[in-house]
Symmetry: C2
Subunit: 426 residues, 2 copies
């Protein structure tokens, strides 16, 4: 055969347009109206018996504190373990600390299946119960499973639709990248974020799944606690329509800034025995700090009708206080820019990742001198109080001068450029 | 001021053309003829007094085996340490092992300065002595320094030209990315690879530096032991002229394959006390394996006239036997492709990196059953014996079928696609 026939275009030029078409379809899709999704979720919740009750860590079924280390581990040795972590960083008010951390040295799959109906891409979303959800059930990816899950360590039923992702024909993969978990709670944990098209195959839609357009998902993102975090991180991996040719900084300047941030930091992070972690206490209430800051490690017993297993117990990370994740936004020369943060978290695989302008639980920072609090936190909280008052009055010049070593960059989506974070927050 | 004035092009469209112009200039550059470089290097070697002699590890000045761990550390606590590493991987004949490893939790700078002479980009290369070089002195980047070096922990003289990289104006950076060291010898060590243009400033050329075009460097790369590894890894970061629109696999398929490789592997790597490492012995000759495989940790005392300090002692990793690094190459549909390997090394930050088709020391694999040896090793060695005989006769079809989980992909430079590694080697 001719080898010329082997070649294919390196870039699928039509994908952004197909996604844009799906994003334009709001109100109703092939399957149901957007306004009916919440009642569908409520109906799925009723269709199953979900109960979650708190259980002391030392009474979690199949979990125990390992002799010696005191790490909280599952009898199978799989799923995850709660261990200790010792961190030393070169910046901020907390130079070094110890904490509990979730250790799960395996990569999970967060996969959304896509299919065209009437020429419009729809995405197969799942009504999934998770014990940590305030409302228990939320819209999640088609498949959301750790390797322990889909290898059925729990000897439960198989993960629905998994084969579409583990066996995806290469040309039907629309997005596929590793993205890390919260670096403050997980030790070097990453998930494979996948979007796969089911082009030629019929996909039976189970009772706990629905097809939605990108536009409908956009509408649902405006509602509280409805589209879960795993679904949002997969959707965040979709390619954008052709981006602007101009930005505050060139792509190379952005890469160079980010490389410098990654190279600059001295971060020493090590796992340690949970039993030896200083500054945390363990009692019937869980593992927590006497000052009540950051998070607690608590336990729950779960009963669910539609999960791979019908009941289980597990430890949970329970944040203390509500967090804030906020981007500062403005148009520069007509081009939308976001102010992104090169953020250091102890659990990140690569020390530093791009983060929102502000990402923290304000309560944790109250004891800290104002000057040491996260940049822009005050501004963001003030804007929130005022129902989203503009941070930059249209009259003020945009931040543009590049401060060497600045931690923030004003960035077009998928593009970054510089701002004077230190001077802007004063 | 108008914010529109803030915007700049996201991509510097002219850089690939400027690099191509420099690559086209061979034989002689602004500074000297290519054929005179070797004699210039020899002259630099004569201009300084270089001596390197072996020293037992326990007699290295400023170095000692730490009590308890037995790690080999510098008195300053900086530079690097030789520690132990325990690895468990899920593939290959060596499921788990222990070894000495170099631990240096700081990012070094490998920087090459570029400047136009007569409209042609030239690159400032350094005649640098390193104790591990068979010929002691080689062409290295303008700046090649760990942070301990350029922060002058050794209290020596400052690193020449460093300010061009630590203080580079963003718009003069031509390339800037983190690239890892050998994962078999270094524990999560990365260097910042930089190419910076000195556009508006005069750059005095010191006696140990010369300006060469990309074309001249290409000529010198054909000579043994002349362009050192650090220079080659920086040059490898330069952008290519516009690549082909077609390849064996699309860019997204390549990314998806690589993501799958990164997600698939269970790799558990931990630092451990050097004193506890099993399978290695320590004697006057250094730290080595009784079977003489892989590498030794040995010590040297160095005297040099033109380094930041005039003399020092240090441990060295000394490979046992000569390694092979080889790409299989062929044109597919007229487009050049390389066969790349998704390689797992214990010391990589991200478990897996793209590697040559074959990268190993053949001697280390002699005791191993042929079926367990690295794919394509036999083919590459045979081709080498035959002075580079083609591995794929023009008549045979190219490898193109995608074997799920295959470890190799036929790849255009900066592009990858699939081949049937297992079946091709049989």
């Amino acid at each position: 055969m001719s080898t010329a026939a082997l070649l294919r275009p390196r870039v699928a030029a039509d994908l952004p347009a197909r996604l844009a078409r799906s994003a334009a379809v709001t109100g109703a899709g092939h399957h149901l109206r957007t306004q009916d999704v919440t009642s569908w979720l409520a109906e799925r919740a009723r269709a199953h018996r979900f109960t979650v009750r708190r259980v002391p860590l030392d009474r979690l079924e199949q979990w125990s504190f390992a002799p010696g280390t005191g790490d909280l581990v599952h009898r199978s040795g799989r799923f995850f373990a709660v261990r200790g972590l010792a961190a030393r960083v070169d910046e901020g008010p907390y130079g070094s600390w110890q904490q509990p951390v979730i250790h799960q040295p395996e990569v999970g799959i967060l996969g959304i299946l896509a299919k065209e109906f009437d020429g419009v891409l729809h995405f197969l979303m799942q009504a999934k119960m998770e014990p940590g959800n305030p409302n228990l059930i939320q819209l999640s990816p088609t498949v959301q499973a750790t390797r322990s899950n889909y290898q059925r360590v729990h000897a439960g039923s198989s993960v629905k639709y998994l084969e579409h992702f583990t066996g995806a024909p290469p040309h039907l993969v629309l997005a596929d990248s590793l993205q890390s978990e919260h670096g403050a709670w997980f030790y070097r944990k990453a998930n494979r974020n996948m979007l796969v098209e089911a082009a030629d195959t019929e996909v039976p839609c189970g009772p706990d799944h629905i097809w939605l357009t990108l536009g409908q998902l956009g509408e649902l993102l405006r509602l509280d606690n409805l589209v879960n975090m795993d679904a949002r991180t997969v959707l965040g991996c979709l390619p954008l329509p052709e981006t602007e040719a101009g930005a505050l900084h060139s792509d190379l300047e952005l890469l160079s800034w980010f490389t410098a941030e990654r190279a600059r930091h001295d971060v020493d992070v090590r796992l340690m025995p949970l039993a030896d972690v200083e500054g945390w206490t363990r009692d019937a209430d869980g593992i927590r700090r006497p000052d009540g800051r950051f998070f607690k490690v608590t336990g729950v017993a779960v009963e669910a009708g539609n999960r791979e297993v019908t009941g289980w117990s597990q430890p949970l990370i329970e944040p203390c206080g509500t967090g804030v994740a906020a981007f500062l936004f403005r148009r520069l020369g007509g081009v939308p820019h976001l102010l992104v943060h090169a953020r250091v978290e102890a659990g990140y695989l690569n020390r530093v990742e791009l983060a929102p302008t502000v990402q923290c639980a304000p309560r944790d920072w109250e004891p800290v001198p104002a000057a040491d609090r996260p940049p822009f936190l005050t501004a963001v909280l003030r804007a929130a109080e005022q129902g989203g008052a503009p941070y930059w009055p249209a009259s003020t010049p945009a931040p543009y001068a590049c401060e060497r070593g600045g931690r923030h960059r004003a960035a077009a989506p998928r593009t970054c450029a510089s701002s004077r974070s230190r001077t802007m927050i004063g």
